[in-house]
């Protein structure tokens, strides 16, 4: 009897310890980034582009990379939405009866979701070579769009499935076409669309491997789609590789900026998901 109780106690302690390690690693990571980044943080970092001797430790900031990342993540999210909203509607409302077909399509998006960003980067590069596009803002947006489409479709699909069947049936019974029903459903899931946007934006802004081949790097803020664009994660990566201490410090500060942006996005999307599941009819 005592042995069984001891065993129970032992494993319960083990589980609590494991939980502390898993959740604690979040604090460890964010804590390290904050403590290393804050000393190097200043207003110049987010308001200036790299100056003359930036890469040997002189003045300047990473505004070029911040703007570049926003452009790429924003552009990819918009493009991605334009593709994934129709797809999500199609899976749920047009091939509703055929479960096998819709399950195969869902499987395909699950698989696409699992494909690593480096493969999307390499494939994006192939597309660019094929069409003769150089490393540019456009190339980066194409690669990241491919990356976020599965995220968007999966999220939207899940959200649409929470819309009650009765609502759809009621619309149809009034004589609406499927497209008119889709418009009603789209109105219902507006907060869900917003969640999908945040998730996709968060993923797009933080990813390196997909933009490495495709977006290039530049010290200037891109003014057209065909100019190369810097991205924040790539700026962090390059600066960290520098032997100059001052530049490495900037990598920490840039990492701090990226962490804060991504944390805000993640928290917002979590809150939205919670709110959405609460107001579900």
């Amino acid at each position: 009897m005592i042995k069984r109780k001891l065993e129970e106690l032992f494993f319960k302690t083990l589980m609590i310890l494991a939980t502390i390690v898993v959740t604690g690693s979040f604090f460890l990571i964010v804590g390290t980034i904050f403590s290393k980044g804050i000393p190097y943080m200043n207003l110049d970092m987010i308001t200036k582009t790299p100056g003359g001797g930036f890469y040997i430790g002189k003045e300047g900031g990473v505004l070029n990379a911040i703007i570049g990342s926003l452009y790429i993540a924003g552009g990819a999210t918009v493009l991605g939405l334009m593709i994934s909203i129709p797809v999500a509607i199609y899976i749920n409302m047009y091939i509703d009866g055929k479960r096998f077909t819709s399950n195969i399509i869902r499987l395909a998006f699950d698989v696409l979701f699992g494909i690593p960003s480096i493969v999307y980067g390499a494939f994006g590069f192939l597309i660019m070579v094929y069409f003769g596009i150089r490393a540019s803002l456009l190339g980066g947006i194409i690669a990241v769009t491919l990356l976020v489409i599965p995220i968007l479709v999966r999220t939207l699909d899940e959200v649409i499935r929470t819309v009650p069947r009765e609502l759809r049936d009621a619309t149809l019974s009034l004589g609406a076409t499927r497209w008119e029903m889709a418009k009603v459903v789209l109105r219902q899931i507006r907060p869900g669309i917003f969640t999908a946007i945040l998730l996709s934006f968060g993923r797009g802004i933080g990813d390196v491997a997909s933009v490495l081949f495709t977006a290039g790097f530049s010290d200037n803020i891109p003014t057209s789609l065909h100019e190369p664009a810097a991205t924040l994660p790539l700026a962090i990566f390059f600066q960290l590789g520098s032997p100059v201490e001052e530049v490495q410090g900037r990598a920490y500060a840039s990492a701090l900026i990226l962490t804060i942006v991504v944390l805000i996005i993640t928290v917002l999307s979590q809150l939205l998901i919670k709110k959405f599941s609460k107001h579900k009819i």
């Binding site: 990571i29 390290t32 480096i118 493969v119 990226l258």
Partner: protein
């Protein structure tokens, strides 16, 4: 007339949506075919077998042996799974079976936040925290010298990156296990742990396998975080303190020069193809297991 326009509109939109759906689904095949097409030159010169088993990596001489990179990937992945799997299983069991709802509500958001952190931040953290830790505190007990940039560092960083993935799948699987099963076990006098050991784990084992397979495929493809802490030395690692050079890191590190050396770009695309095939298979396997499990437990 209005009726007609409405039906026509529905039809046109439906066809458009079909095109979008087919186009994005066919991406799976297009990526595979595109990468294969670009790897043909190197496959032509050196066979599949040769590319996979040769350990000479000398692009200037036209020698492309992927063996060290495959081993690097396997080492890093294996270490990460060995660390992450037990910790994640225990965590999910605690969250689902023991934790009070209030504690759950506090802890689960942090697991989600962990999954939102970008890979490059994990990399920076690995360089700042894990690498010095290994160099100064762990490695000296086992080997004479290590820079800290090692497959172990890569494995630890990856393990933390795949925590949220395994935990989120497992908590979902565990919550779908019927309460009656647990009650039956508890009613005949089993302790909670005995119930977990003999009933829950057994019921959830397909889920655990599926989550592991998914985690393996995630670990396989992770690029930048691993690249930053792994040392990137193209030799087969012999201990956890040796540096390694995983496949994704190889692709990422050499994209700049790949156009200037013949066959180099083809070889790198072959590396991407290799990753794609392995990850595709692993993903399909785990998704099929999960879908079947869901059907079994919910009906």
């Amino acid at each position: 007339m209005i009726q007609r326009i409405r039906f026509l509109k529905d039809k046109i939109i439906s066809k458009l949506m079909l095109v979008f759906t087919l186009a994005s689904v066919s991406l799976v095949f297009v990526i595979g075919i595109g990468l294969y097409y670009r790897s043909i030159p190197v496959l032509h010169k050196l066979s599949w077998f040769g590319l996979l088993t040769n350990s000479d990596w000398k692009p200037m001489k036209g020698l492309f042996g992927f063996y060290p990179f495959i081993m690097g990937t396997l080492w890093v992945t294996a270490i990460s799974i060995i660390i992450a799997l037990p910790l994640s299983v225990l965590t999910s069991l605690y969250l689902v079976e023991y934790a009070h709802t209030k504690i759950k509500r506090v802890l689960i958001p942090f697991v989600n936040l962990l999954s939102g952190i970008p890979p490059v931040i994990y990399g920076v953290w690995g360089v700042l925290f894990i690498v010095p830790l290994i160099q100064n505190h762990i490695a000296p007990h086992f080997v004479d010298f290590s820079t800290g940039y090692s497959v172990l560092a890569g494995g630890i960083v990856l393990a933390i990156m795949i925590f949220p993935l395994i935990v989120s799948i497992l908590t979902e699987v565990l919550t779908t296990i019927p309460q009656e099963l647990k009650d039956a076990s508890l009613a005949v006098g089993a302790t909670k742990w005995e119930t977990i050991k003999k009933v829950i784990i057994r019921k959830a084992s397909p889920g655990i396998i599926a989550a592991t397979v998914l985690a393996v495929s995630r670990a396989f493809g992770e690029t930048i975080a691993v690249l930053m802490v792994c040392g990137n030395n193209a030799v087969v690692p012999h201990s956890v303190f040796d540096p390694g050079y995983p496949l994704p890191a190889l692709i990422a590190n050499n994209y700049g020069e790949m156009m200037s050396i013949p066959l180099y770009d083809s070889a790198l695309m072959f590396a991407a193809l290799l990753l794609f095939i392995i990850i595709l298979l692993f993903n399909i396997i785990s998704r099929v297991i999960l879908a079947r499990l869901e059907r079994k437990l919910t009906t």
